[in-house]
Symmetry: none
């Protein structure tokens, strides 16, 4: 029905790629009989058939039953799966619904993949069909259950199963440049680099260069070239979200962070606190969505707002400085802008944003950007640039601090 975006193909393809496994076909079918058709059609075509979803407790969840029928392995009750389901509910002080009992039935010979985040176990099934062994991997549909299970249970087993050669993989990222601008700078170098595969991926204002080689030395060569080309703007992300690099580096250097977000509305704080270990370096954040709270929360002078309007370099800087002062952090970032679709004025139309970074003993920096796009993309884009600014400042932290006697000055 199109109500849920299919993120599984992307998740699976990403995870399988370094194992040398390529997805030959992805099929989506409605609940019911067509699941069996899709399975039967896949068997002559594939060595590995991964099935996602339909492992839940309700009557429309029939994947388990259908696979059992297609591979002719009867479902048998598995007491340890049932035990896991019972303890899942009892940990949450909820009675076990009788419906969930069906989740404890497992095709004979299947290996159970434990689910730490739900009641549906994954299943790993090797079955001899049409003269050949096929591997079926059944995974729960909710991404929060599928992704950890893929990582912890499936990939290690597949690595062994596929016996694929070791591939070395690296991803570098640049924020705030377009895909073609990045490609123009590196394409000829990469084309001449021997024994490697690469690709670009642009998302959310960040361009990733994904790189694979059998030879580890190629990665060092590429890294050296990229650093010469882009300097501090490029970083080795290896597919990790930017915020996790920021939190790790801030932890390593004991740098405390604070945020003051108007137009990003808490997204920067949310992303930083998604990272385990954030509480050791993230002091806290403010979301002064109304002008009066910019004043009351962060001590932004009312006259500044009246003179420059709340979407201005002066107010962004004052917000960043207020956040630094109140939280006694080492580094802060502030955002103020017009996310749209309404708002804005003649000089600063919808899409205008000011991002300020303030750092103990340093002059506050402020950037003005124009990002005319739909509201949520705007927030994501601004947050990405703001967090990348934190990353660069943390990376350079001690060199910036060469003159610690400087008093704080804003860029207004």
């Amino acid at each position: 029905l199109g109500k849920t975006l299919n993120t599984h193909l992307s998740t699976l393809a990403h995870a399988l790629f370094p194992l040398g496994l390529r997805i030959q076909r992805q099929t989506t079918v409605p609940d019911g009989l067509s699941i069996g058709d899709a399975l039967r059609e896949a068997i002559p075509r594939a060595d590995v058939i991964m099935v996602t979803g339909g492992l839940g407790p309700t009557s429309d969840d029939v994947t388990r039953e259908t696979v059992s029928e297609v591979i002719q392995a009867p479902l048998v009750f598995n007491p340890s799966v049932w035990q896991a389901i019972v303890s899942f509910f009892s940990q949450r002080n909820r009675p076990v619904p009788e419906n969930n009992r069906k989740q404890a039935f497992v095709p004979q010979g299947a290996e159970v993949l434990p689910n730490r985040n739900g009641t549906a176990p994954g299943l790993w099934i090797r079955s001899f069909l049409e003269g050949k062994e096929r591997l079926f991997v059944l995974l729960p549909g909710p991404p929060a259950e599928l992704q950890p299970m893929l990582c912890d249970e499936v990939i290690p087993r597949l690595k062994e199963w596929a016996k694929s050669p070791v591939l070395h993989e690296a991803t570098w990222s640049v924020v705030g440049m377009g895909e073609s601008a990045v490609a123009q700078q590196v394409e000829s170098f990469l084309q001449e680099l021997w024994d490697c595969e690469y690709g670009y991926c642009a998302r959310n204002g960040q361009v990733d260069i994904r790189f694979i080689s059998r030879c580890e030395k190629r990665i060092e060569e590429a890294e050296k070239f990229f650093k010469e080309k882009f300097g501090i703007r490029i970083f080795r992300s290896d597919g990790k979200p930017l915020e996790s690099l920021v939190i790790a580096e801030a932890n390593a250097k004991r740098i405390f962070i604070a945020t003051a977000e108007s137009c990003t509305g808490g997204l920067i704080a949310h992303r930083l606190t998604n990272v385990d270990g954030a509480s050791r370096v993230f002091r806290g954040g403010w979301v002064p969505y109304s002008d009066v709270l910019k004043e009351r929360m962060l001590g932004v002078d009312r006259s500044l707002i009246e003179e420059h309007s709340s979407v201005s370099a002066a107010v962004a800087a004052a917000m960043a400085e207020g956040a630094l002062r109140f939280s006694q952090a080492d580094l802060s970032v502030a955002t103020t802008g017009y996310a749209g679709p309404s708002g804005g004025d003649q000089h600063n139309p919808v899409g205008t944003v000011f991002i300020a970074w303030s750092q103990k003993g340093m002059q506050t920096d402020c950037e003005r950007l124009f990002l005319p796009m739909e509201r949520e993309s705007f927030k994501q884009r601004v947050a990405q640039i703001a967090i990348d600014g934190l990353r660069m400042r943390i990376e350079n932290f001690y060199s910036f601090l060469s003159s610690p006697g400087l008093t704080t000055k804003s860029s207004k």
Copy 2:
């Protein structure tokens, strides 16, 4: 390779649903020969075959050629398509690459769907195959080209082509109950309801019941039943995110909102500010991630934290009350908990969270929940329950206010 998320299925399904057309199967294949296989397999199965992507000018774009071969309609040069391509480039002051010439070839008998946003024309092809007429609709891959073409060119043609009856659709949602618990309460009623289709979808601590019928009256009957069963806990979401309902209702009633988030780290504020119109009712939020900021930002008594620890009902309530007081909002929500993976104590292990709602002139409510799950899911789940609590309080706002003389009391 998984670099691009497939949004087409969702886009198409959404657009086709009200026409009474259901997607029976969605297939993704790599560039090349497998496109032909996928087409040939689809022909006996479907009346309409929609193909997206592969209409570009490069050598790996072979959809046009493959369709022409499968339906045995030779490609012929179409001068008016070529004219459109030439003027696309000349409007942008760019020379026409010779590569693009192939985009002007069209299977004999095809109707051209103009592309206002790119060079690849869409194609509408009726072909008599295997004893029956099939309709092929070829659309360009980039969403920015596909979506307007779908809207402007395809849907009007399909409406006429399908001559389908009008279908009525509704989605109801419940937060904080499991899928099977919800199903247990409604399944037998729904099974006996005549002339309808339904399904459940669980995500992020919310269960959706999706409902479709040719008869609008069925929707009223279902709504009445659900309201009797679940009361204020169930709401008509129609697939909209919870926060957009909250912001719309707060706008309608002029209720101002504030947030104070420790363990959700800004996610509630972020979600509320994703909604256009948030700035009219969302005053702002605090993210006091460290104990000292709970004190400094929201005036939470240090002695409360020392006595009860920062993860406690008393501190949650004090945070909610502080947010209400400082922002002069009408309604606030506060969260404090152990998101994990580390942290927690004997009485309150990782996964424990306290959510408090404070409302002008009312006693502050606090809920303790135990949600042992991975960090990001924990935050999403807590935010969902917190925002649903806002929804229920906004819905009941004036009835709650029946004794406006009450002084604020916390639940500590």
